[in-house]
């Protein structure tokens, strides 16, 4: 018997475990989900399965809960992506200095990334505790010199819940972006800085004309990844607020989870997942092509 020759075939054989896994656990369920999203499929219901056509989609696009979830997702991404990327850049510049003990700081800033979000959320639940003794309440009382009526119930206040989730999410995620940007910073050739210095460029000019252009690709990557991660907002919501108060922190993934797992409306949940996929796909593509065009102009 003859074995096939050539790199392509071997490539496929080597890739097959991953490809099969991907097809079986990602593509297949998604195709099934698309199919289910047109039905009334519910877990364990004695009611007959019915073809809904676009019924689920129409229900969702006219549901104030779902639209609020989409809006919250957009709001979250719009704040978290720029703030987190900016903060990551600042931190990367900070820990890129050649000082003694710098690795300790790098480790400290990166540490929250290693913790599971569930753990981080539980810890932050204690920080945001609505008692006068809660850490955040203490801080607020201290800095407002007792003018703010304590205790504030941060996570159950309609105006504060989402910002609180944003703060903890940024705290948890910023280390990851920092490490990527740090690697990029260290990859900037020293000769460029030297040349700039000889040309008489000051600190600010060096940052603007050497560091930033060199970091450009990494920054684009970081912003894109952060966007996708931001849209996947779920763990912190599930643990801290359950979408409340009054839908202030509900997200698309949270709604999909509640619909399919708590209310067993798999068809509806699948429709949410499909809409969500399309939405994130479009945002990512727009980002991708937007940035690429920009590069061509340069």
């Amino acid at each position: 018997m003859k074995l096939p020759r050539g790199d392509t075939v071997w490539g496929w054989i080597m890739a097959s475990p991953a490809v099969i896994g991907l097809l079986l656990f990602m593509v297949l369920p998604f195709v099934v989900a698309i199919g289910l999203s047109f039905t009334t499929y519910r877990f364990n219901s004695p009611l007959p399965l019915r073809w809904e056509g676009l019924g689920n989609y129409i229900d969702l696009l006219t549901s104030s809960d779902f639209l609020r979830a989409v809006l919250n997702n957009i709001m979250f991404a719009a704040v978290v992506v720029p703030v987190q990327t900016g903060l990551a850049l600042m931190l990367a510049l900070l820990v890129n200095q050649r000082l003694r003990g710098m690795s300790v700081f790098r480790t400290l800033f990166f540490m929250p990334v290693i913790y599971p979000m569930a753990l981080v959320a539980v810890v932050w639940a204690l920080i945001f505790a609505p008692a006068p003794t809660g850490l955040m309440n203490r801080i607020v009382a201290l800095f407002s010199f007792g003018h703010v009526q304590a205790p504030i119930d941060f996570l159950r206040n309609g105006y504060l819940a989402m910002p609180c989730i944003m703060v903890m999410s940024i705290w948890q995620g910023v280390g990851f972006q920092m490490v990527i940007l740090l690697a990029a910073l260290q990859g900037v050739p020293e000769t460029l800085y030297e040349a700039a210095r000889i040309d008489g460029a000051g600190r600010v000019a060096r940052f603007r004309h050497v560091t930033m252009p060199q970091l450009r690709n990494s920054l684009i990557f970081v912003a894109m990844v952060t966007t996708i991660l931001a849209f996947r907002l779920f763990d912190q919501i599930w643990i801290l607020t359950r979408g409340g108060p009054n839908n202030a922190t509900t997200t698309v993934l949270y709604q999909a989870f509640v619909a399919s797992r708590e209310r067993n409306q798999i068809g509806l949940g699948a429709a949410m997942a499909v809409l969500f996929f399309i939405f994130v796909g479009v945002v990512t593509l727009v980002q991708h092509f937007g940035v690429r065009q920009h590069r061509e102009i340069q």
Binding site: I13, N44, S45, G158, R261
Partner: protein
Amino acid sequence: MFRIPTRHGKFGRVSNWVFLLIICLVAFSLSGCRDKPDAASEGAEADTGKTVLTAWAHHGKSVEWETLQKQVARFNASQKAFRIELIEIPEADYNTQVQSAAATRELPGILEFDGPMLANYVWKGYLQPLDSLISAEVRSSLLPSIEAQGTYQGRLYAVGVFDSGLALYGNLAQLTAAGIRIPHGIKDAWSVSEFDEILARLSKQGRQNGGHGYALDIKRDYTGEWWTYAFYPALVSGGAQLIDTTDYQSADGVLNSKAAVRTLQYFQRWMKAGYIAPNTDGRAFIDGRVALSWAGHWEYPRYSKALGEKLRLIPLPDFGGGTRTAMGSWCWGITRNCKDSGAAAKFLDFLMSGAEVLAMTEANGAVPGTRTAAEKAQLYRPGGPLRLFVEQLDTCAVPRARTPAYPVITSVFQEAMGDILNGAPVKKTLDRAVRIIDENIEQNEGYPPSGGGK
């Protein structure tokens, strides 16, 4: 570029085959995991020849769990033909676990579950009626509330080893210091306006003593079912309901009625006035930061240890229609997946026998589920410190809405309670809750009678 190093070598072909073989072996060993015995599967055990019945139970309080383990061991030792295998499921999201298991047909033969889920489980066809399965003796000794909770559409589907009790725990020292009248029983419960004044007085007293002015603990540190369990009795007492109980088709005009709005506005006001303690550490009552705690029977051991003689059980305030309290707790049913219903019923009979009911309720402090055990139990016999719970269950306890829509109703109501306590407009919040409940009922075609499912 990466290449298989042996491809052009002397033994190239052979090595390629070896390489493929290794991949196949790995793949087989991975898929081999499936052949291990499945924890949820039932059937004969090879070594002892005994039939194995799986039972799911929630892991709540550790003493409760330990007692149950001992009970199962005792039962297994007494049986020759079969054995119960107890599987521990965390209490949080227990219902989700059950629904998922049912979807893949992996429900255990014996299932413990939270009482109000019963109608939903029956509608979906998970459970078998117990009428002809459990012994007549057990059946006739059930506490009326246990019987009510376990019955759906005229048939008994579950039995509870214990029921729950909900009331106010009072710190006698603080209450008398503030000159407050202590009710003797259900008949002279505080009216809501009296309660309103009491909270104001206690709060003032607390502030004068240098505290934060908290007067009442309502377990704000709890999440989940507590919020429905503990506050729908107030709703009923105020003249409202979770859903129209005549046909269970709509919550409109019931859950968002004037009576409901008025009742829940009280809680919002007490919250705004700063009477209700955050209780983030769960010790507001024990540490004397509040004089009153709106809590369940399960707090008794902790509270009585901390307060001793100063602890007093008081009925919940009367919101207009007489005091009302909650009932219902975890109970046992037999699923349609069960391989040997007779054996499963024997296990249920065993758990419901006098000695075992007492063993469990002495451990977890709950109200014994049978009349005979309730009369014998230290805490619950006439004159016992928790006798009020038994009296309440006999006279003024109300069951949570018995409809397949309950899981949705409770999750919506829990959310609404949270929002209302945090200052959301009451009427608007309840209107939204009603909309979600009614939508769900509509999406399920009104939950038509299913004849117990498939």
